[in-house]
């Protein structure tokens, strides 16, 4: 083989001269690799019973949210009956589920709303808040973390001081103030949650990319001439992606809890039904002291189920990304 040295300095000369007919289709290949990775992660994730059950719960809630108009028996914000003087009635119908002879599956509220239908439509609000807030917090946090961790120095300092500032603000009170200023609208609540929640994702992703960017494979890419964006997108992002998913799934649960809390305080959107506003109404009408437990127990259970499912899925994914926890 050593004789080749004299004739040609490159072992690729013949390839460059002749060209080659065989070329792997890049997109097909990328797609196949992604599918394999996802399949493997899915397999690991659904291996655990608690994760499987949680996924069923979440899937169930999603179906309910999508088909809410078909499942709900009444309009959620339509009074089912009027009091004698046309004023707000302070009387509730007991649930037919318990044998009462009415058409209301879970009874009605003191305002005359059908609880079952409210519960169904409340799923929409909960999932909307959870998903939108989680996607944006994980997305913004990851982007900021990657940029801060990769560039370091002044960029890092500036971005992390913003994060520090946000860390100084307590979650619930700040959201309350923001919603009070912006107006009680579901989208304003989501916005307020996003503004406050990307901080923790950004911190974690930053610390990850700080250590990743010093790894030799990043240096190797630099030596090969890769630009900043190439390194961030090909080398840093794929390695922090599991962490992003993890924080995203926790973010869903946090956002739902926070929205319920804000609504319970009375800063919820009066024009949409959410589990939080149901709880708030039941408190306002002292449902507890009247023994009308069917008003506040169902939304409480729903919140609990969805939040616990979110955490369990996150936890299951954490075990995949961090085998030390197993």
């Amino acid at each position: 083989m050593a004789q080749e040295e004299q004739s040609s300095r490159s072992i690729y000369t013949d390839i460059d001269d002749a060209g080659s007919d065989e070329e792997i289709n890049k997109w097909q290949r990328t797609f196949r690799l992604w599918r394999e990775t996802l399949k493997e992660h899915w397999g690991l994730l659904t291996d655990e019973l608690s994760v499987k059950l949680s996924m069923l719960v979440v899937a169930g809630f999603m179906l309910i949210a999508i088909f809410a108009p078909f499942i709900a028996t009444h309009q959620p914000l339509q009074r089912q009956y009027q009091g004698e003087a046309g004023i707000i009635i302070e009387d509730w119908v007991e649930p037919s589920l318990l044998g009462a002879d009415t058409e209301y599956l879970l009874g009605t509220t003191a305002e005359g709303f059908d609880i079952f239908s409210q519960l169904i439509y409340g799923t929409r609000a909960a999932l909307l808040v959870g998903l939108v807030a989680a996607i944006f917090t994980a997305g913004i946090g990851t982007l900021v973390g990657l940029v801060a961790g990769y560039y370091g120095g002044k960029v890092d300092d500036a971005l992390m001081r913003i994060v520090d500032f946000l860390y100084g603000m307590p979650l619930l009170p700040t959201v309350i103030v923001l919603v009070a200023v912006l107006g009680p609208d579901l989208w304003n609540i989501i916005l307020a949650l996003i503004v406050l929640q990307w901080r923790s994702t950004a911190r974690v992703i930053r610390s990850q990319s700080l250590s990743l960017r010093e790894r030799p494979f990043v240096k190797a890419a630099e030596v090969a001439g890769a630009g900043d964006w190439h390194i961030i997108s090909r080398h840093l992002a794929p390695n922090v992606l599991p962490m992003t998913f993890l924080y995203g799934s926790f973010g869903i649960a946090w956002a739902i809890l926070a929205e319920a809390g804000i609504s319970f305080i009375g800063l919820g959107d009066p024009n949409t039904v959410s589990w939080g506003t149901m709880l708030q109404a039941s408190r306002a009408y002292s449902a507890l002291s009247f023994g009308a437990w069917w008003w506040f127990v169902p939304p409480g259970i729903c919140i609990g189920l969805l939040v616990i499912s979110g955490f369990l899925i996150g936890r299951g994914y954490e075990e995949i990304t961090n085998p030390k926890l197993q």
Binding site: M1, A2, E4, E5, R9, S10, I11, Y12, I15, D16, G19, S20, E22, E23, I24, R29, L33, D157, R215, P216, F217, K219, A220, A221, E222, V223, A224, G225, A226, H230, R234, H235, P238, N239
Partner: protein, 364 residues
């Protein structure tokens, strides 16, 4: 050595790292109080790399050999000095020229477990440099590079992830990645020190073949002198950011002149219990790389310390009268007639007593 054309010239390269003291200290600095500390990782290194030549950089940990290697492939921006590639100074090169340089300078890293992205397949890892430089015939080139690195059959490795490979296989992938661009020179930073001893011979012979068949120039960085002796045409011994001895490998190994080189070579074990030899063990630790001592950097550990001249005058790396290699030490007389005692402010008496204590009469 196929040709004597100089491919790469390193001219008084310096790389100093600022000691990070936090943002309050740096704020105070900008208001003029206090000076930043610098780690003098590489402090004035000059050598040249000829076409087809293998050069070894040796020295103990922290002597700046890895920093030098990283500066060679522009992973670090030098603090001072320059690298001249293809008659162009890299500090003045245009973007296109830098890109050209990137295509011709590659590096192989010490730890094959860290130098491959765990989320990239072997194919993507090796093809990445080609994509960056828009080079056609990706698949055929990747296949050829993997085959050269003795990963056979190459298709079998395309879709494997680094965690599915052994250490030796990973280092071969790293070598294939470095070779796929058909570079002019490669910096190999401790290429086999993380591998099992049983795998080293295979990877070393691969590196050997690589230099031969590609006509590559290679800079080997290692603390393992027996490895460097096997692989390199020339050697440069570094201590605290400076080259203390430089010359043909056989010369340096068989006839080391600088006291530091002597003690390094003495430390290499000989596989024969019957061989008795005088051990010169190095005393003490490497000096302070932040607060660089005056004069010779090796003076505190030197067994041949000859007094004030070592304390006050930095010995230049220069041709000496008696032997082939360049040495930075006051023990030997300069071939170019440089007299370190002149720089001390003219105290020849100190020089004489210093030399009188030494057993180097040829100097007089």
């Amino acid at each position: 050595m196929s040709a004597n054309n100089v491919l790469l010239e390193v001219d008084d390269l310096k790389k100093h790292f600022k000691v990070n003291q936090g943002w309050i200290a740096s704020l105070m600095e900008s208001f003029g109080s206090g000076e930043p500390d610098y780690v003098h990782a590489v402090d004035g290194v000059s050598f040249e790399l000829r076409e087809g030549e293998t050069l070894g950089l040796a020295g103990e940990s922290g002597c700046g050999k890895t920093t030098t290697g990283m500066s060679l492939v522009k992973l670090h921006e030098p603090t001072a000095g320059d690298i001249i590639y293809d008659d162009k100074r890299l500090s003045e090169a245009s973007d296109a020229e830098i890109k050209q340089f990137r295509q011709n300078a590659q590096m192989i890293f010490q730890d094959p477990f860290e130098s491959l992205n765990p989320r990239m397949t072997v194919y993507d890892t090796v093809a990445e440099p080609l994509r960056i430089h828009d080079i056609p015939n990706e698949t055929a080139r990747v296949q050829r590079a993997l085959e050269f690195a003795e990963l056979l059959p190459a298709e079998h490795y395309f879709d494997q992830y680094p965690h599915e490979l052994s250490g030796g296989q990973r280092q071969r992938v790293a070598i294939a990645r470095a070779l796929v661009l058909d570079p002019d020179f490669i910096v190999a930073d401790e290429p086999v020190s993380m591998l099992d001893v049983s795998l080293r011979a295979g990877v070393l012979s691969l590196l050997d073949r690589m230099t031969e068949e590609f006509g590559l120039s290679v800079v080997y960085i290692s603390h393992d002198l027996s490895l460097l002796r096997h692989m390199c045409d020339r050697l440069a011994i570094m201590y605290m950011g400076k080259i203390v001895e430089k010359g043909p490998t056989d010369q340096i190994i068989e006839n080391p002149q600088h006291p530091y080189t002597q003690s390094l070579i003495n430390a290499v074990p000989v596989p024969d219990p019957a061989v008795g030899r005088e051990r010169v063990e190095l005393q003490g630790e490497v000096g302070d790389v932040i607060d660089i001592p005056s004069g010779c950097r090796f003076k505190n550990r030197c067994s041949e310390y000859i007094g004030d001249v070592c304390d006050q005058v930095v010995p230049p790396l220069e041709q000496k009268t008696e032997f082939e290699q360049d040495v930075a030490c006051h023990l030997y007389e300069s071939a170019e007639g440089y007299d370190p005692y002149e720089e001390m402010g003219g105290s020849p008496s100190a020089a004489e007593t210093g030399e009188g204590a030494e057993s180097t009469p040829a100097d007089d």
